[in-house]
Structures are given as C-alpha cells and as structure tokens.
Symmetry: C2
Subunit: 165 residues, 2 copies
DNA sequence: TTGGAAAGTCAACAAGGCTGACATAAAGTC
DNA sequence: GACTTTATGTCAGCCTTGTTGACTTTCCAA
C-alpha cells in the first residue's frame, strides 16, 4: 500500500504493490515456460540446464575464455568445469590453447555442438517468437526495457557484451 | 536467418533470430537479478528459494490446499513437503484441517511467516519498482503482455488465479 | 626470478529437483 | 457396509548443480 495515490499529476498505479506482485508472478511463470522446451530436449540427450547455458554463450562468443564464461554464467570454476568437461569429452565443445596467452583456453562449439545448440535454441526461440508475435513490436520494446532495467548495471554490461547482430 | 525480410508491408525485424536471442539473454540475466535480493535474505534465515515460493503463494491465497499449491509450484509432493514441513515446524506456516473436506490441509502464514514474506517481497519489489519506474508505464504494459503470452495457456490460468488487487 | 593469473582437479557438502513404494484418513460410490 | 478414490504425508534413494577449500601446473609479466 505504499504508492497508491497520485503524487504529481501522473498516474502511478503501475507502481502499486499489487502490480509489482503480479509482475513477480509473471516472471516466475514465464521463466518456467521459458526453460521447459529446451529442458525436454536436454533430457533426451542426458544433459541439464547448465549444459545449455554453456552451449548458448560459447555459440554467441566463439573463442571466449573460461574466465569470461565464468563471469557471464555467474557460477564457480568447479561448477562450470564439471559441465564443460563432459561437453568436451562428448565432442560438443573444443578447447583451444590461446595464441597470445597460452594459459587461456578458447572455447568453440564443434559441428555436433552447434547442432545441439541450434536445436535447443530453436525450441526456445519458438516460444519466444510466438510470444513476440502475439504481443507486437511495441510490447516487445517495453519487455526488453523492463528486463534491462531489472538486471542492473553489472549484468547489463555482460548482456551488452553479447553481439547484437 | 529465418524471417529477416519484410514479407508483408510490415516490418518484422523484431522477430529476427538475433532479436529473439537477445530476448532470451535478457530473460536469463534479468531472472538472475530478480532472485538475487531475496536469495541473500533467505540465506540469513537458513532458507532457500523453494521456501520463498511457498511463502509467496500461501500469502497470496491464504487457505489454499496442498494440492493447489503443488499445481501452482509445479513440483512433486515430496519436494514440496520437505519445504513445507520445515516452514510448519519453524512456525511460519500453519496447516489447518479443512472444514468441509477434512482430508484437505488449508495453508496459512503465521505472523512470523507474514513478516518474513513481507521482507522477502520487499526486497524483490524494490528491484521491480525501480525497473518499472525507469522503464515507464507503457513499457511495463508491454513487459506484462510478452510474459503472459510466453507462459502459455496452462500457466496463464494459474497466473490469473492469483488475486489481482 | 618471482609473483600472480588462468585453468584444472579432488573432496566434501547442500539445496532441491526426481521416482517409487507405502500408509492413513476421509470422501464418494455402488 | 464394502470398495474405490482422493488428499496428504513419509521413507529411501538418486541426480543435477550449486557451494567451499585446498592444491597443482602452466605461463605471463614486472
């Protein structure tokens, strides 16, 4: 019941606690749907969500280093390594020694890795595309604005690191 | 590279695979930020995200049954029970035998439960409020539209079950 | 040459999903 | 009244994915 009134001349009803709670629930349910499609596919291949995330970002930034991927994913080295190791063993990801700095490992998807990434992304984009189409370009712009504002400056920096087109 | 052209007379650039991928990443980063604040608070109390979700929905629908909560959360009985048991033992949730149907357990928050829920929600709403304010009412409307379209009919039904104001 | 950064590994632990199998009480049905 | 179904709870065990802490190897850079 914080800001229910009309302090200035503007209507701030969209900042009501109730509206905020509905927004929170919308995030909860939407995120569940958002991960459901790739999850099904992953299970068939014996992988989990963590594998998907690694594949996604390696695909987006071919040649990124392990340290960068760690920062992007926001997990510990040990946690990522477990996932990365199986992907490399299974021949989905290739780890190449850095040219200038030989300590670095540059990560790339193999053809097989690209194929799985594409399938996972397809599933996820399918739902996204349907939602975008249903809501329209104006709504999509608002959607992106709110999400970007919500992620805060640090994550927004990582977000912008990913190539835009 | 599916729909890059201009099939009709309309610009469908917002349905580009690249735009969809950015949307996917926005969801990923935003959801991470979205859960970060309550997670900190939860850790101080020795609880996890699962406890937060239970508290949230019991608060929203006081007196809901276990079966309903199961449907809303989308987890198994065993998984929910582990969480619910500790909340009841710790005196945050009260389980009352149903009046008409005595098999049912009606779930309610105690005062202590309400206090924690309020604190968690406050943390989460703080970020949400800032994002909403920064993006403006128009963007918020679009945000909600896209999320609702994304969750699909089944989850949308559960979403609408929650009281709106 | 020496300190620090990048990567990898081992071990142990915790949260929170899951399945399967059962048990009980209460409702509902025939 | 006997039988079936529903709502709930519980035990046991497994998996993924996160964590901390300790330690190693390799390599860059001052």
């Amino acid at each position: 019941m914080a800001e229910s009134g009309s302090p200035g001349g503007e209507t701030l009803l969209f900042l009501t606690d109730e509206q905020l709670r509905k927004g929170i629930e919308a995030m909860f349910f939407a995120y569940r749907a958002f991960t459901a499609d790739p999850d099904r596919l992953l299970e068939e291949h014996g992988y989990g969500r963590a594998h998907h995330r690694a594949l996604h970002f390696i695909n987006r930034q071919p040649g990124l280093t392990v340290t960068t991927l760690l920062a992007v994913l926001g997990v510990t080295k040990q946690s990522l390594n477990r996932v990365l190791r199986t992907l490399i063993e299974d021949g989905l990801v290739e780890s190449r020694v850095g040219k200038r700095d030989k300590r670095e490992r540059r990560l790339h998807l193999t053809e097989e890795g690209e194929a799985l990434e594409r399938a996972l992304s397809e599933a996820q984009r399918g739902r996204m595309r349907a939602a975008y189409r249903a809501a329209g370009p104006q709504a999509v712009a608002g959607f992106r604005q709110v999400l970007e504002a919500m992620m805060g400056p640090d994550l927004h920096k990582l977000y912008q690191m990913m190539k835009d087109e």
